[in-house]
């Protein structure tokens, strides 16, 4: 009995410690040494801004298409300094949706002041969160980016039309996180020599561009006559390789603000 009581006490202490450390994220960085970083995502098709439903576009291979839905997850954002140290944003999950302008504006708070020379992020959602339980915010299954019959998020969703597609529709639901069809891709688009200077009184802004055409160009040329519908599996891996290897996501410029 005495042992049980002592064990309870230790458990109490241990749990209390965990409670405080796990939820108080910023206790090591005083408020006067942090600033903000904004990231703006501009979705484009080649040289044109993406216009849902109304824009008519042509792939590099010559297929015509329109886009009715374009969403993707950006997660696990990491800002790196020249000396190799990094700021890793906690609980870093964003759903960028072309139909929702506010979703294209990511606001990072409590970034330690400093000069950052690079950014790394995941297109999609890490494997852990693909199999976690009920979630809120960007990862809420109400966002219609969650596969119910095979737990996991749709990392990038493009729907639209194409006269070249066998049934006229385009349905690219890119996702899947298990070998051999893992489509989680982590990229580090270059700042092109610019430095992101975070100060307590400066919130610099990174303008990212995501070019839809690059989803279908290289290294795996997608012709809609052959592939207009992908929901995980080998074809999703091809598209994921395209959006990670072809420079679909680029830093257009950085505003010092």
């Amino acid at each position: 009995m005495l042992f049980s009581k002592l064990s309870s006490l230790w458990l109490a202490l241990a749990f209390t410690a965990i409670t405080f450390t796990s939820c108080d994220k910023d206790d090591t960085t005083p408020a006067d040494s942090v600033g903000g970083v904004d990231i703006e995502f501009d979705n484009v098709v080649g040289n044109s801004p993406l216009a849902l439903n109304t824009g008519n576009y042509t792939t590099a291979a010559g297929d015509q298409f329109t886009v009715t839905t374009f969403n993707y997850y950006i997660s696990n954002i990491r800002l790196t300094k020249a000396d190799g140290t990094a700021y890793v944003q906690p609980d870093s999950y964003y759903l960028v949706s072309q139909a929702d302008d506010a979703s294209k504006h990511l606001s990072l708070k409590d970034v330690p002041v400093g000069d950052y020379t690079g950014i790394t992020f995941t297109i999609g959602v890490d494997s852990t969160r693909n199999v976690s339980g009920a979630q809120t915010g960007a990862l809420d299954p109400s966002n219609n980016m969650f596969w119910t019959w095979n737990s996991g998020y749709i990392f990038m969703k493009l729907e639209g039309t194409s006269p070249q597609a066998s049934r006229g529709g385009l349905l690219f639901h890119i996702g899947g996180f298990q070998h051999p069809y893992n489509t989680i891709r982590t990229i580090s688009p270059s700042f092109n020599g610019t430095t992101l200077m975070v100060r307590t009184d400066h919130s610099p802004e990174i303008h990212m561009q995501a070019d839809v055409l690059k989803m279908f160009a290289s290294p795996n040329q997608i012709r809609f006559a052959n592939l207009s519908n992908s929901m995980g599996g080998a074809t999703s891996v091809q598209v994921a390789d395209n959006y990670s290897k072809s420079g679909m996501f680029t830093v257009a410029h950085i505003h010092a603000n």
């Binding site: 458990l11 339980g133 009920a134 809420d140 969650f146």
Partner: protein
């Protein structure tokens, strides 16, 4: 108890500090909130979603509420009936809204806390997100998450009950899924005569035939139907078919050829009550199941190696006496307390 109770309370505090589950009153009267001594460590730990009376009762109401389906006809409890350990009695495959037929046999819901994936193909990988599949499947409840939440928020009763548990409104998917998991995680079957026997409790006596069956089971069945959960949680091809055009099984999820025709090894708890059997409900009786393993196993490239005998025969050879003893043993896995537990039943108006 001295150890268990404080740990419970603290687990609640821990969770409440990070999640909006406001109600953290620990209670041990919620079914399944004491883990059976003869079970392994659970996948869905108690402290992940600490059982409370209010949240459990909310999950229970939701489980039996046909409003969750598009047409208001079908609840979770329609295809998961308590008197057959939450399987679907006499249904080869389940009936969804508008009498649509599913493609697979509805499995018993029991000891879900110990499972790391669900369904015959292992597609859903978390107890909390699992209900999204039947809710949205066109041949099951055929509803959207958005509509379910709209109906719950418009209900005269639910908003008050959810707010009492989670502290915030409106009801969102997080609250819905957490409440449902309170009920589904509570479905613990661990009080069969077999359990009393292994835990050396009162009423735990097995007959000579049952003991012979138990010994046979250990040598012929327990590799797959292992531990006191009576499954190793793996996926295997048990030789039902030569080709899998009708249902590719695990390969439907993994898209890997070596998984063609593999299905989850089901638990055998309450197996005497959960007919029909197999992923498509093709066998009506346990005698047919044992006959299949004895005589009916057919070869295919992914047939489980355990069903290939050195004599180049397939299956598991069983004499009539052995079958009889195995059936006697399997009947000891029936847990009357579980299937008659009023706390798990639909609340009568």
């Amino acid at each position: 108890m001295l150890l268990v109770l404080p740990a419970f309370g603290l687990a609640g505090l821990l969770t409440s500090s990070c999640h909006p589950d406001a109600d953290v009153q620990p209670t041990v009267t919620v079914p399944g909130s004491v883990l059976p001594a003869n079970f392994p460590v659970p996948t869905y730990a108690l402290e992940t979603n600490p059982p409370t009376q209010q949240a459990f009762e909310l999950g229970r109401t939701l489980f039996y509420d046909p409003q969750l389906s598009r047409t208001g006809e079908v609840s979770c409890g329609s295809c998961h009936q308590q008197f057959v350990a939450f399987a679907n009695a006499d249904h080869r495959v389940s009936h969804g809204v508008a009498n649509r037929l599913g493609t697979r046999n509805a499995p018993a819901l029991q000891n879900l806390r110990w499972k790391s994936n669900f369904f015959w193909d292992g597609g859903p990988k978390n107890l909390e997100t699992l209900p999204l599949a039947p809710l949205t499947n066109p041949v099951e409840m055929d509803e959207t998450l958005e509509n379910v939440l709209r109906k719950l928020n418009a209900d005269p009763d639910y908003p008050r009950r959810f707010t009492a548990v989670y502290g915030t409104s409106p009801i969102d998917s997080y609250q819905l899924l957490r409440a449902l998991a309170q009920f589904t995680a509570s479905l613990t079957s661990a009080n069969s005569r077999y359990d009393h026997y292994v835990r050396q409790e009162a009423g735990g006596t097995l007959s000579a035939s049952e003991l012979s069956g138990k010994a046979l089971f250990a040598t012929k069945c327990a590799t797959c139907h292992s531990t006191d959960l009576f499954t190793d949680g793996s996926f295997r091809n048990n030789g039902l078919d030569r080709s899998f055009a009708a249902d590719s099984g695990r390969a439907h999820i993994t898209r890997v050829a070596s998984d063609l025709g593999l299905f989850k090894v089901p638990s055998l708890r309450n197996v005497a009550r959960t007919a029909p059997y197999m992923h498509d409900g093709r066998f009506q009786t346990l005698v047919q199941v044992l006959d299949h393993y004895d005589q009916g196993v057919v070869d295919s490239p992914t047939l489980d190696p355990l069903l290939r005998q050195p004599s180049s025969q397939f299956g598991i050879a069983l004499s009539a006496q052995e079958k009889s003893d195995l059936l006697a043993f399997l009947a000891t896995l029936t847990d009357e307390q579980f299937i008659k537990d009023k706390r798990l039943a639909e609340r009568q108006p």
